[in-house]
């Protein structure tokens, strides 16, 4: 009896042990970690002209203009890599814009799949009178599904708006978020010779529709958008008749009404404006006490509150308000070389953010508030860097050289409202022009291509 009982207990023990291992080891989890990110292969054949006037050059040109803006928009999104048209396995002009066999003479999904195409965009247009009609589809090739199909109508002259609308719709279809295609850029441009006057200009994000908004015949610099995108603050060396001298005063220009207001003309520097969300107040740098310090001020120029005061006669400049309006990044030389600091919006708890490099300036918050871009000086030039708000993940985004082989200066970063690009100025061609780069340092491209010098660009918030 005792032997049998021992056998029972032994079996029971083995059973329990085996169950324990199985139950526990079946709960093995592995976190795979952050995925690599890659661009999707996009086939974008030219738009088909389906009108009757096949030899009408104006109609052909309208299609080419529309296609060019669409392609540029999609390229800047950083979502896609375009498939070289020479590799297409079917002539897009000889098949329709809808797939076979559903559509007669439709295109073949199989041929695009063979090219590992992720997305195919097929569009057709016609011009009726002064109006462009565009029918366009975006197909997800692996699943053979339409993810966007729309018909657009717009005056022929509004082709840019039409293209931006389509790109925006595609961004929403893919990500649920709109793109920056209707946003604008403001920057200071040197009007003539080096050392001459500078005026403030507004343009579309791609450099089109240039518009001058200041004409002080003096130095106008450091423009900044209001958070609603309807006003621009900037500093101009205005002439004070009583003192018979020029002073860097702060102006606010209303883009809707064209009205200009002088809001701060305190003795010394009145510059580096940055609106606080809501636009009732802004931060700026004043040097009325001798040293440049950061102040909070109402948009009408009153209710002045100092946020910094030295220490030790230190310079505190270039305030940048976080998207949630709770923190301020700025540059200061309080610890020696100028570095980036972050403090609360009331000026409390300043802490250094950057330690590397000799001179860090021009902080700019990413729209999600997680990353700060800045210009860092090393050896003999500035480059654009990003760093997380916690102080890690420091990355260099630019390292372009001039034609003579010397390093170029890349300065004044500003994020696009969708956070997919960073705008900056660079003298890599000899002239200081405006460029954009993706936050991973890829896809650098010029925005301006002229003979002027541009500086201190700022990207607008969403304007649509």
């Amino acid at each position: 009896m005792k032997t049998k009982l021992n056998a029972v207990l032994l079996m029971l023990g083995l059973f329990v042990a085996s169950q324990t291992v199985t139950a526990q080891e079946s709960q093995i989890f592995i976190d795979v970690g952050t995925a690599q990110v890659k661009r999707s292969l996009l086939a974008l054949p030219p738009l088909q002209y389906v009108g009757t006037q096949t030899t009408n050059l104006k109609h052909i040109e309208a299609g080419q203009n529309l296609f060019g803006v669409i392609k540029n928009n999609l390229d800047v999104s950083n979502f896609f890599t375009f498939i070289n048209p020479a590799a297409y396995l079917e002539d897009p002009n000889k098949v329709g814009i809808k797939p076979a066999p559903g559509a007669p003479n439709g295109f073949s999904f199989a041929k695009w799949k063979t090219l590992s195409t992720d997305f195919l965009i097929r569009g057709a247009y016609q011009v009726i009178g002064n109006e462009t009609n565009l029918e366009i589809y975006v197909y997800h090739v692996p699943t053979a599904k339409v993810i966007l199909g729309k018909m657009y109508k717009a005056p022929v002259t509004e082709y840019r708006r039409l293209a931006h609308t389509f790109a925006n719709d595609l961004s929403v279809a893919l990500t649920g978020k709109k793109g920056m295609y209707f946003s604008k850029i403001v920057a200071s441009r040197q009007m003539g010779r080096v050392g001459g006057n500078k005026e403030i200009f507004v343009m579309d994000w791609d450099g089109a529709n240039l518009k001058q908004i200041s004409s002080h015949s003096s130095i106008s610099i450091s423009p900044a958008w209001s958070t609603k995108g309807d006003k621009i603050a900037y500093t101009a060396f205005a002439f004070h008749k009583a003192q018979k001298t020029r002073n860097p005063d702060l102006f606010i220009y209303d883009l809707r009404t064209g009205r200009r207001q002088l809001v701060s003309y305190r003795k010394g520097m009145n510059s580096g404006a940055a609106f606080i969300p809501g636009d009732s107040h802004l931060l700026l740098t004043l040097s009325q006490r001798g040293n440049p310090d950061i102040y909070k001020m109402s948009a009408s120029g009153v209710d002045l509150v100092a946020l910094t005061n030295g220490p030790n006669r230190a310079m505190n400049v270039e305030p940048a308000v976080s998207p949630d309006g709770r923190r301020v990044a700025f540059s200061s030389d309080r610890a020696g070389n100028p570095k980036i600091y972050i403090m609360n919006i009331d000026g409390s708890s300043p802490r250094p953010l950057t330690f590397a490099g000799k001179y860090n300036s021009s902080p700019a918050w990413s729209p999600d508030g997680k990353t700060i871009a800045f210009a860092g000086y090393e050896k003999d030039h500035f480059d654009i860097f990003t760093i997380s708000v916690e102080g890690g993940n420091l990355k260099r985004l630019t390292d372009a050289r001039k034609p003579n082989g010397r390093a170029s200066n890349n300065e004044s970063p500003s994020w696009s409202p969708d956070g997919r690009n960073i705008l900056f100025s660079s003298d890599r061609t000899g002239k200081t022009q405006l460029y954009i780069v993706s936050p991973d340092g890829s896809n650098e491209r010029p925005i301006t291509r002229d003979s002027y010098n541009w500086e201190k660009p700022k990207w607008s918030p969403f304007l649509d």
């Binding site: 709960q27 989890f29 090393e378």
Partner: protein, 248 residues
């Protein structure tokens, strides 16, 4: 007997004693300004980093058409992933209930199993409470649930194996840029045979995004064969599998 030498020694000792007393009283009785470290400056002499090489992008020239997909060496995965439904195995009915000893054994087993389940529930609650108490209670990779009996060299082997799996699957995981900002997550249960080949992969928790789920399964398929599991885990991985968490 006070020769000059002894007198000088006595004077010296007296003066030194007085000096010690002065220092002592100054240090203990006279208040001093504390050393203020708040304005201390951290100075790291470091250079700014170089620009990173861009990640390899798919070439704008597409790959040459391939007439047929390469034949996989591994057993083909289940073409229609079925939802993971846990099915309880029906206890085998034993018609020969001839001896009471067998019945008692079964009863003991059930009681023991019940006790074990209670214990596991308790352990799970304790572990969850401990995790919740931590500031960062995100489940990390390479973790075995609480109560694993592996230890010592076996544990090291086990962790090393999980690391190898993680690295392999991660290296095959890529998502499109337009999905990168979406907070998509999926869980896949993967069964692995003794040689490391994926026998079956099932989406346990979908991201509700068709493309992301497909990319996750592509990563698993591309990772097969995985490293052969340690002997101890072979049966378990082939039957119960491993759950891969895919954070995006």
């Amino acid at each position: 007997m006070t020769d000059p030498f002894s007198r000088n020694i006595a004077v010296s000792l007296g003066l030194h004693g007085a000096l010690v007393l002065i220092v002592f009283f100054q240090a203990t009785l006279i208040p001093r300004h504390p050393l203020d470290l708040r304005n201390a400056i951290r100075v790291d002499v470091v250079d700014l980093p170089r620009k990173l090489e861009a990640l390899p992008e798919p070439a704008s020239e597409p790959p040459a058409p391939t007439p047929a997909p390469p034949v996989a060496e591994a057993p083909p995965p289940d073409p229609t992933p079925k939802p993971s439904v846990e099915t309880k195995t029906k206890p085998q009915e034993r018609p020969d209930l001839k001896n009471a000893q067998s019945a008692a054994l079964n009863k003991l087993k059930r009681l023991s199993a019940l006790e074990r389940m209670k214990q596991q529930v308790q352990e799970k609650k304790t572990a969850e409470a401990a995790r919740a108490a931590k500031p960062d209670n995100v489940v990390r990779g390479n973790q075995v649930s609480a109560g694993n009996s592996l230890s010592g060299l076996e544990r090291i082997d086990f962790d090393r194996y999980l690391d190898e799996l993680k690295v392999k699957v991660n290296s095959n995981l890529s998502v499109p840029q337009w999905l990168a900002e979406s907070d998509l997550r999926a869980q896949v249960v993967v069964q692995i045979d003794d040689r490391g080949f994926v026998i079956k992969r099932t989406i346990k928790k979908s991201s509700n995004n068709e493309v992301f789920d497909a990319k996750v399964l592509e990563a698993i398929d591309a990772s097969s064969p995985m490293p052969p599991p340690p002997a101890r885990l072979r049966g378990v991985l082939a039957t119960s599998g491993i759950t891969f968490n895919f954070p995006n």
